[in-house]
Amino acid sequence: MDVRTKETIRYLGYGKHAVDEKTLQSIEESFEELVRIAEKKSISQIFDLCVKDENQLVIENIEIFSRNLRTNLRDCKQVVLFAATLGTDVDRLIRKTQVVDMAKTVVMQACAAALLEEFCDELQNEVAEQLQKQGKYIRPRFSPGYGDFSILHQKDFISLLDTPKMIGLSMTESYMLTPTKSVTAVIGISETQTDCDSNACENCKKTDCKYKRG
């Protein structure tokens, strides 16, 4: 089973249970449709990072207060800001599916999330490879809304990267990204390699989460 199928099953809340044949087939069909219509687009740019005190960080001219992000970016002097989207047609397909079949919709929704994560992983790996040539290393990506990193910073990412124009990514008044299957994130660049696990899920202390990996 490939990674994105495994991830989809996890998002659907199956935990360690075996997944039924019908759902598996639905997952397969959903991926087929999604891959056909997704317009993957992304943009990234390197910015200087300045750590002011315990919880305060400054990226370009954006001030961020977040203990979690501060931990994630410890010892970093630069960051990559990046944004990625699967495009509006994915939203349309999910809306259309909702009208005819809710079971298919929840599956497709999970598949789209997995596809987006896969896309972000690819982008992150590309960044890592490029930086490694310069002897630099990356930290796992961290998005507004993770931990105490306020979702309100979505706005700064969109403005710094000019995402509406570059990749068609904007946000609503309530800071939701549109198209909905989109991500903004910061990736720390460090001179030293850390044993930081790229899989934040395993690091999480919560044990009763039904989405827990592994």
């Binding site: 019908k22 370009e60 809710m102 309100l152 068609g168 904007s170 939701m176 198209p179």
Partner: protein, 788 residues
């Protein structure tokens, strides 16, 4: 100078943003402020472009609209005035073009900015621009046709200035929101801009193929403003690497390929423009040529009438359909959407939309239907109404160039409809009837067609945008009816060379086995010059006729469509269930939709519907629900079972109403996703399950204002409202809604759910119940209504 547009080569200026960044503009800083704060820098840039040879200079107002430009030390008007003055300061000998860029927001229904709000923002800016002295309005860097339409309409309706527009295509010739070249051209020509084209996104070389594609479709002068190459990155900075001379060479090629106005975008400098002017000055332009194709478009797709026959799906129309009427009265949009999806799947190219009923508000219903259909189906729509107000409302918010059904030879009709086509663009169906009714002869109908075409010309509407309907008559009452129609069809094709349309199935009223007559008449009509037809794409006979005709006439390469659609034996007669061991309970438990449908169809012949519900459906659903709670059944399975049960319920409901049993009175529950939240999958899951348990769900949709929820709750007298929110930023609106409900309808209970919520949060915002999953809300609703 503008009179030279399309006759002589004109030069725009080059990039602004990239130059300002060099001067110290920070990422995220608003460049418009510099019109006042650093006017010398702005004026110097304008002057440099003027001296380089630009005829048209763009004001530094790319983001000067109230959506992007706010919370600033200056008013929008002050900034726009300063921007125009800055260009004027350079010379009297330049054209001041007021620059309008996108809002940076995605429009509804994919985003949260309404078409009207986008329109208002552009309107305000355009008015300030004209007042300040701009001589034209240039809309640029658009990547969404809907926003583009709002901007063009705002500029044209509120100023007297010429309007030009350019968009960002990617290397595949697509906008970010999916539109292709033909779609953009159809929209902009329909809205009657003065010139159109492409800017930003790519360098000149990559734009060449797109330019050629634009030229294939447009009759207007073309503007091309490339970047100085594709954006590249080094050390975290974006840069462009096509140097002035190479840029000039490439632009020279672009002029040869049909551009009438050229300039530069990101990364280009006065040096680029100077080299370009030196290289291209004096070149003859390739004059725009008139295109005669009949194009109808949606947000992402264009259909040409006049090549292979076009199918216009007729199913979205309440005439003679009691279920449809019921759906309209109950505001059941899902019913309409299902019809739309079905017709698309069956092969329709365009969908007719008619929602006219005497006792509903057709204007708002039409707007809503068009908006909702366009959010899930990419086919162009044919707006079908006799209500002019509804027609205009729908044409205004339609994302694309619609088909309009219809205008007739009556003066009153033409006076009402043609101005709308002139303003919004569209392809209109011209019915060959007038004040004296429908002529009995082919000649009579041909004459009316001629008058319609002539009258359209007065509004600048070319005959390519008029599709003539010579009207299908019923042969059981008029023996010559079909002959006259076919004769008239042939004649209008010969005499006027226009495209044609017919509502085919009228022909067989009163006869048995209507599909036989209909499909044969359809084939004869196509052979006689029918280029589009309003039919039911779910009718096998009609589609067989269509696929056969296309295969026979060489419209179907390798007969591929024919083989795919007519290559297998019809399976519609197989009504027996394959697996004998399956009963209704297991079919539902295993989520087998079709099987559940077929089994229940058999069962209702012998059993009472209420017994089937009590003995099979409810126990099966309960079992699955319990399984979900115990962690042995998962969400997709729970919903598959729910969908299977829904199918079974449909059959039983029909049976009960056929037997005259009134349905059991259901408890009403309102569901809504709160204001600001556009994710509604969670709410829809709850809806499916509640409906399975016989609750009447009034679904208010997503992004719903607290006032609307309360108003509807009072109106329907509901005792339970379910609210959903996905984000921390929208829970506040959930709280507001609950407060307002408590105040105005204290007897009403509120259950909440959604990704960010938990019991603690729910208590904090004073909800009566927190449903951690969809089944919990069903149990809560059951307990609540049982207790009372």
């Amino acid at each position: 100078m503008l009179r030279k547009l399309g006759k002589e080569l004109l030069f725009f200026d080059g990039g602004m943003g990239t130059l300002l960044q060099k001067e110290g503009l920070l990422p995220g800083e608003l460049p418009e402020n510099w019109n006042i704060e650093k006017r010398e820098i702005i004026q110097n840039i304008h002057r440099a472009y003027y001296e380089a040879g630009s005829h048209i200079l763009l004001t530094n107002t790319f983001g000067a609209n109230r959506i992007k430009y706010h919370g600033t030390p200056y008013s929008l008007q002050a900034v726009i005035e300063a921007a125009v003055k800055n260009v004027e300061s350079v010379s009297e000998d330049v054209i001041v073009a007021f620059d309008m860029g996108p809002t940076g927001k995605l429009l509804k229904p994919m985003g949260d900015l309404s078409f009207e709000d986008a329109y208002e923002a552009f309107k305000e800016a355009a008015i300030y621009g004209e007042q300040a002295g701009a001589q034209m309005i240039h809309i640029e860097t658009m990547s969404d046709t809907y926003e583009l339409k709002a901007a063009v309409l705002a500029a044209k309706e509120n100023t007297n200035l010429p309007v030009t527009a350019t968009v960002i295509f990617d290397e595949h010739g697509k906008l970010l929101t999916g539109a292709d070249v033909a779609t953009v051209v159809a929209l902009l020509e329909g809205l009657r801009v003065d010139a159109l084209g492409i800017n930003c996104g790519m360098g000149p070389e990559q734009m060449l193929p797109i330019l050629k594609e634009i030229r294939k479709y447009t009759s207007l002068p073309i503007i091309v403003k490339p970047n100085a190459g594709l954006p590249k990155q080094k050390d975290g900075n974006t840069y462009y690497d096509v140097l002035p001379n190479a840029f000039a060479e490439a632009l020279c090629e672009i002029v040869k390929c049909g551009a009438c106005v050229i300039g530069g975008c990101c990364g280009t400098t006065p040096e680029h423009i100077q080299a370009m002017v030196e290289k291209c000055k004096g070149m003859e332009i390739v004059k725009p040529t008139y295109k005669t194709a009949t194009l109808v478009s949606s947000y992402g797709k264009t259909v040409e009438i006049g090549q292979a026959p076009i199918i216009i799906g007729e199913r979205i129309n309440p005439t003679g359909k009691s279920k449809f009427k019921q759906a309209l009265k109950e505001h059941d949009l899902d019913y309409i959407l299902k019809e739309a999806i079905m017709q698309q799947d069956k092969g329709a190219h365009i969908l007719d939309v008619n929602v006219g009923l005497p006792d509903i508000d057709e204007v708002s219903m039409m707007k809503e239907a068009v908006t909702e259909i366009q959010s899930i189906v990419n086919l162009p729509l044919q707006i079908d109404t006799v209500n002019v107000e509804a027609l205009e409302a729908a044409m205004r918010i339609y994302n694309g160039k619609p088909m309009v059904n219809s205008v007739s030879g009556k003066q009153e009709s033409m006076d009402a409809v043609f101005p709308l086509i002139q303003k919004y663009g569209g392809v209109v169906v011209g019915l060959t009837l007038d004040e004296n009714g429908i002529p009995n002869t082919a000649e009579g109908r041909v004459a009316i067609a001629g008058r319609i075409i002539e009258e359209a010309k007065k509004y600048g509407i070319d005959k390519k945008d008029v599709v003539i309907d010579v009207l299908t008559m019923t042969i059981s009452s008029e023996p010559d009816g079909a002959k006259v129609t076919l004769d008239a069809l042939k004649k209008v094709r010969e005499i006027y060379g226009v495209q044609t349309v017919l509502g085919v199935s009228n022909v067989s009223f009163g006869l048995p086995n209507r599909p036989i007559i209909n499909s044969n008449f359809y084939t004869m009509a196509m052979q006689g010059g029918l280029t589009s037809a309003i039919i039911n794409p779910a009718s096998e006979a009609m589609m067989n006729a269509y696929y056969s005709y296309c295969a026979l006439m060489g419209y179907d390469e390798n007969c591929g469509q024919y083989i795919a659609n007519c290559g297998h034996v019809s399976e519609t007669n197989q009504t027996t269930v394959g697996k004998n061991d399956l009963n209704l309970n297991t079919a539902i438990e295993r989520g087998l939709k079709e099987e559940a449908y077929l089994i229940v169809k058999e069962l209702v012949r012998e059993q009472n519907p209420m017994d089937i519900i009590q003995e099979c459906l409810i126990p099966a659903l309960d079992k699955v629900g319990k399984g979900f709670e115990n962690g042995t059944v998962f969400l997709p399975q729970l919903l598959m079972s729910a969908e299977a049960a829904k199918q079974a319920f449909e059959v039983l409901k029909e049976q009960m109403s056929a037997e005259g049993d009134s349905e059991v009175k259901k408890e009403k529950i309102i569901l809504a996703t709160v204001k600001g939240d556009i994710h509604d999958i969670g709410k829809n899951i709850v809806k499916v399950l509640l409906e399975n348990y016989s609750f009447h769900v009034i679904d208010l949709g997503k992004d719903v204002e607290p006032e609307v929820i309360v108003e509807q709750a009072i109106k329907h007298g509901v005792r339970l409202v379910g609210l959903s929110a996905l984000m921390t930023t929208t829970v506040i609106n959930m709280e507001k809604t609950i407060k307002l409900l408590r105040n105005q309808l204290p007897t009403c209970k509120v259950m909440v759910g959604g990704a960010v919520l938990n019991q603690e949060y729910a208590d904090m915002i004073d909800a009566d119940f927190y449903g951690k999953d969809a089944m919990q809300s069903v149990y809560y609703a059951q307990s609540l209504f049982k207790a009372n």
